[in-house]
């Protein structure tokens, strides 16, 4: 069909005809090309494939992925959404390092050699850069949810101290990007996805355990089914967290200390036995967790 007389419309048709040869560069700035070595595959099989594209100032790895997708690899599977480091969708391993693709500027990479972009290797691969992260959602369901005490005021509201509220704010910054889960050797190398909830979920547990209003005590399940003992505090999780949550020091280690106090401290057991009730600190138990007092069992 011949393009309509309207010259603007004709431009649209002609630009369509030039589309295959057009390269996507941002106007006005200096551009050069870079090579990206991207994992292409379906399920467990696949290989790294090289793609060259023009790059310019201010670009991040995600921009390059989208550009490569538009320029020919139209079936490149890549998860992304906000492009602002807040949604946690675009997690990947860039030059071997777990990063968010939208937060990795090309200016911080050496573009003289190909940039390797791989999916998160700790999780089952679905296609190209997309992985199956559902084990994390299953693990979250296993952690008992927030259970507040009865309201402090007649209108159904609570009162809490500022310092107590501040303590848990850090944990609430989590964007569930699962980069910490990806890098943890227990999940990544030993694949203990159903036995160990992982650093992200331990942060979630810490947020609940340290919440001033929550009355549950989750130390029993942290020890028995969430697998907190598997963590040997190598702190790889803290290193990759894009929100800079001090996972190991502020969430995991305090939870480990609570488990140890309750289940492995012989002096604590003795004190509890003598007093006939729980010793100082800790929360009143709402039906969950084992009560050692009065039973005289030595659990070691």
């Amino acid at each position: 069909m011949s393009p309509p007389d309207n010259s603007f419309a004709r431009n649209i048709v002609e630009s369509g005809q030039r589309a295959a040869a057009r390269s996507n560069t941002s106007a006005g700035t200096e551009t050069h090309a870079a090579t990206f070595r991207i994992w292409r595959g379906a399920g467990p099989t696949g290989q790294l494939q090289d793609y060259s594209t023009s790059v310019s100032e201010g670009m991040v790895v995600l921009d390059a992925m989208i550009q490569i997708q538009a320029e020919g690899a139209t079936d490149l599977a890549v998860r992304w959404n906000c492009k602002a480091g807040k949604c946690g969708s675009c997690s990947a391993e860039i030059n071997g390092m777990p990063r968010l693709m939208c937060m990795t500027r090309l200016s911080e990479l050496d573009l003289q050699t190909p940039v390797t972009v791989e999916p998160m290797r700790a999780f089952p691969p679905v296609k190209d850069l997309v992985t199956d992260v559902s084990s994390n959602f299953r693990a979250k369901k296993r952690i008992r949810k927030f259970t507040p005490r009865a309201p402090d005021a007649p209108d159904g509201t609570w009162r809490m101290g500022q310092a107590d509220a501040d303590r848990v704010q850090e944990f609430r910054k989590c964007i569930e990007c699962f980069l910490c889960q990806d890098v943890c050797h227990v999940l990544r190398d030993h694949q203990l996805h159903e036995q160990f909830v992982g650093p992200r979920l331990l942060v979630h547990a810490a947020q609940l355990e340290m919440h001033p209003l929550d009355i549950l005590d989750r130390t029993e399940e942290l020890k028995e089914s969430h697998g907190i003992g598997y963590c040997n505090i190598t702190k790889c999780c803290t290193k990759v967290c894009p929100e800079h949550i001090t996972i190991t020091d502020n969430a995991i280690i305090p939870l480990k200390e609570r488990v140890v106090d309750k289940h492995f401290d012989p002096l604590g057991k003795l004190v509890r036995l003598v007093r006939g009730r729980r010793s100082g600190g800790g929360k009143p138990e709402a039906g969950g967790g084992a009560r050692d007092a009065g039973r005289g069992e030595a659990k070691l």
Binding site: I12, Q69, G72, D75
Partner: protein, 149 residues
């Protein structure tokens, strides 16, 4: 289902869907954007026809599992429909109101406040732009608005 799978049949040599999407976005931003004018909106409606032709011919590669190119090709028709509706309604409303700013009609016209612009599908599938009157406001609500002016 067959229409949805069509872009795979044109595997070789066709245009990719992202380019059409990008050109549509650029055109709408330029011509039916924040500041609108009659001649620009008319040019956009013409441009949409050409984009419609291009959209019919896009091709995609790969298979059906997690194929963002294919999803974009499927979205294109909806994007074009919505863009045409936006342009036609913007053309019809010859005043400025809220987010809709017409450079050629920069003031709010109270006569336009009495109806909504509705775009319907006509008997032959064409777009019909219709003015549907808004029911008269209740007296007590009118009074509240007057009092707060």
């Amino acid at each position: 289902m067959r229409t949805a799978l069509e872009p795979f049949d044109r595997r070789e040599g066709g245009e990719g869907p992202y380019q059409v999407e990008h050109d549509l976005q650029t055109m709408m931003q330029e011509l039916v954007g924040i500041v609108r004018r009659e001649d620009e909106i008319r040019r956009a409606i013409e441009g949409l026809k050409a984009l419609q032709e291009r959209a019919r011919k896009v091709s995609v590669t790969g298979n059906r599992e997690y194929n963002p190119g294919w999803h974009t090709a499927l979205d294109l028709q909806n994007l074009l429909t919505v863009s045409e509706i936006v342009a036609r309604a913007a053309l019809e409303r010859k005043e400025s109101r809220g987010g809709h700013f017409r450079d050629d009609f920069p003031e709010k016209d109270p006569a336009y406040g009495k109806f909504n612009i509705v775009v319907k599908r006509g008997p032959n599938g064409e777009m019909q732009v219709v003015r549907e009157p808004i029911p008269e406001m209740r007296d007590d609500l009118k009074r509240i608005i007057e009092e707060n002016k």
